[in-house]
Subunit: 477 residues, 2 copies
């Protein structure tokens, strides 16, 4: 076996963290870089990102969003304009060495609200300029001090950040939730991951936002991972950056804004949720190559088999198949290689199959083997891919629901967290009660408040006063 | 008129530089940023970049290239490994303020050879790993000290950089020219700009390259603009970064490498080449919206006209038409607005046209007006778009050929340059003679050496010794 493609040496159930790192590296999704805290996204990983981009970009363009590009570097004074925002991001900002002609320090963007809203304050004049819906696909840098985890925690990552401006609060809030719903669709229909929608509590919201909404996914180790967020920024940034518009009534007003983002860390989540002891398992809707074709070659009938696989390959063009006809590797080696890399369906064709006008399909998720008549392959493969996508999502959904438990008091909460599950508990909106939970429940924190709330709210499980909501609580990435 | 969309106040022939800045800003392609030397690419500009990306990405994927992403920051020691490269890029590198845990200074990438080849040295082991063909779409920062010119000279720009590794010199050189040819196709078929292919002289080649090839375009002011470059890096970087592979003969060898790039500055070139006194002129193959539909509204028959334009719009869906039915602006205002923004075809429909079952087409490039029967619009518009694309390219080609003049001695060279043209002259390969030209001919320099050389080489126009080639000389951006 070639270096870097060796099989996994640990089981997912035994050492989840080591298993994760091995899958990411051995399936060649990403690699560590010599620059501390930075990663290299390799072609197998980047093609997944391209697919997320393609799908989400199409969705937001349909909603009237247009792409643009703003500077990488942000003047220090811009950061300071919105005080909560400045406080929230300052600890993790990387600064540029001052050059002779710089009047102030410049930071590498950790997020672009400030630099974008400076431009918006010049562009927006009247109600005719609204709504303004702009998105950018870019890299951001946050100087994490914790240990790097490929895709999950790195000092640089790729994402999109949408930034919209509206005339009214209603329109703003409505669209903030529309973008959240687009994230849900990407997670569920493309990444095959069931997500929990909700609103962040005051202490967990984005620095400078009025409301933050998120979609959270539960990982196999019971920790939650924030897949994407959508922030209703209210008028705070508009006031700090002096963004005003003349309304139809000729009066000058502050507009309402939102921002929303999804990043490459979702690739880490997808790996954790679907992967198994043989490696990565890719949802068909997410991956570039949905099929790998492996000819089973013997001296006898070799040419026949090679001719046949070439014909089959061109017939399956729409699935972007890989044909692995390398003769320097054995079939067994190839099976392992492509299982490790997570290709949804493997096709095997040997001399016997050529004679019988059949092919063998092996599903990556269940390892089920099906013999299919050559004439039926297009429909059989389409069905199988659909079924893989569906089953992966259903498994994720079932796991999430099975691992979300109501906790009626602190003891139940502690037990739930200790058992590696997510708790649903009534809580009041005091930051003190949230702090208490972090202290007592092994570092668990509120994830988000389900959008659908029960009619009757019980008492806060911490202080016993009237609760404000039922909220999801868990450990998180 | 709304601010930011007012018409141009200068003519292209009168103040080319001011005209350029006005077109870029008023057609809303880009804007200055408050960060010195940095620009904002606005949606109209970014959609052009997306189109260049889409076309080039497709072309290189067909050639077996895969996309990846490498760190934004590069350790200082990596730069120093290839001495020519380090010397070439050092003056324009932006450094990060050292953090506690950094062992050395980190630079923002001005180009990524060094950080990418560090990874390659770990990834490449055997001939089985070759050829390795990877590309990344990203931002780069070069700390320019000259005045910012939107798209043409900014401290940050967007580009792609391809980085391939090969077993043999022949394969490397062959593919270096294949990528150059893909750039030529993008320039000519998409951007509609005729380009001059050639090889850079020793003093103009990329820092660290064996050979640099470029495609150059001639701007209306007679200055050349380098549209894209493709570098045969030889084995220099492989040796500096210790990239080695075990060949089929079991021997350890250094591979051959190339790198190649095209950037957002081509959008500036496109603006200069095609624009006119009314604003931007977009080549149909480059732009998102190929048509704008403007209903001519009177009180009478208003609904009829509005219904008709909606039907026409949906019929023309494949051209991604804009329907400008805003009632707060006059038709005349709209004509100017969309001319300024360069939309290839304007459609006008008034009550009279509805009655006659016809529409009016106006070409952006020639202002020609054509009345077309409603039933013929699809074919007529397709033809007109094709013709606009063709004519823009032909005009660019003619201009370039008309402005490239043979210079047989220094006086002729000086005159050619002074007249704002490009010279073709015989030159020896001494750097001294190139320096002499820069001194004597108003700062003109060698652009590139045509790939097709005359059979007989005359004497060097500077020193009179045997020349090495005929070379293009001109001022440049």
């Amino acid at each position: 076996m070639k270096e870097g493609t060796k099989g996994l040496t640990v089981k997912k159930s035994e050492d989840f963290s080591e298993w994760y790192t091995q899958v990411i590296q051995k399936a060649e999704l990403a690699d560590y870089s010599d620059v501390k805290g930075f990663m290299v996204i390799k072609p197998n990983g980047y093609s997944i990102w391209e697919n997320i981009q393609k799908n989400f970009d199409k969705a937001i363009k349909r909603l009237g969003v247009r792409n643009a590009y703003f500077p990488l570097l942000i003047p220090e004074s811009f950061f300071k304009k919105e005080s909560e925002h400045a406080e929230g991001f300052s600890p993790e900002v990387a600064w540029i060495q001052k050059n002779k002609d710089d009047s102030e320090r410049l930071a590498i963007r950790p997020t672009s609200e400030t630099i974008i809203y400076d431009s918006y304050s010049k562009w927006i004049r009247s109600w005719r300029d609204l709504p303004l819906r702009i998105n950018q696909w870019c890299n951001v840098v946050r100087w994490e001090t914790k240990t790097t985890r490929l895709f999950l925690r790195t000092r640089e990552f790729l994402w999109q950040e949408g930034h919209c401006v509206y005339e009214s609060e209603e329109e703003c809030e409505k669209e903030t939730l529309i973008y959240l719903n687009e994230y849900k669709k990407i997670c569920e229909k493309i990444l095959g991951i069931y997500v929990l929608e909700g609103k962040k509590t005051k202490s967990e919201k984005f620095a400078g936002a009025k409301n933050t909404y998120s979609v959270e996914a539960i990982m196999p180790d019971g920790k939650a991972l924030q897949m994407a967020t959508s922030h209703n920024l209210g008028q705070g940034f508009a006031k700090s950056f002096n963004i005003k518009f003349i309304d139809k009534d000729e009066k000058e007003k502050y507009p309402w804004q939102n921002s929303w983002g999804i990043s490459t860390r979702t690739i880490g989540a997808m790996t954790m949720v679907h992967g198994d002891d043989k490696g990565l398992v890719l949802p068909p809707n997410l991956c570039e190559n949905k099929i790998v074709i492996i000819p089973i070659l013997f001296k006898k009938d070799k040419e026949k088999v090679l001719n046949k696989v070439k014909k089959i390959k061109s017939k399956l063009n729409r699935f972007n198949p890989i044909l692995d006809d390398r003769e320097e590797y054995s079939s067994g080696w190839k099976f392992h290689e492509w299982e490790l890399k997570g290709i949804p369906i493997r096709i095997e064709i040997g001399p016997n199959d050529v004679a019988k006008k059949q092919i063998i399909l092996i599903r990556r998720d269940t390892h089920e083997k099906v013999i299919v008549k050559e004439n039926d392959i297009l429909s059989k493969i389409s069905e199988m891919l659909e079924d893989i996508q569906k089953k992966l999502f259903e498994k994720s959904r079932k796991f999430t629901l099975d691992n979300t438990i109501e906790a009626n008091n602190m003891n139940e909460l502690k037990k739930t967290i200790k058992d590696g599950k997510i708790a649903l508990a009534f809580l009041c909106n005091s930051e003190k009660c949230e702090e208490h939970i972090k202290d007592q429940a092994s570092g668990a924190k509120t994830l988000n408040i389900p959008l659908d709330q029960p009619k009757k709210l019980e008492k806060c499980i911490v202080c016993g006063s009237q609760s404000s909501y039922i909220v999801r609580i868990g450990k998180s990435y």
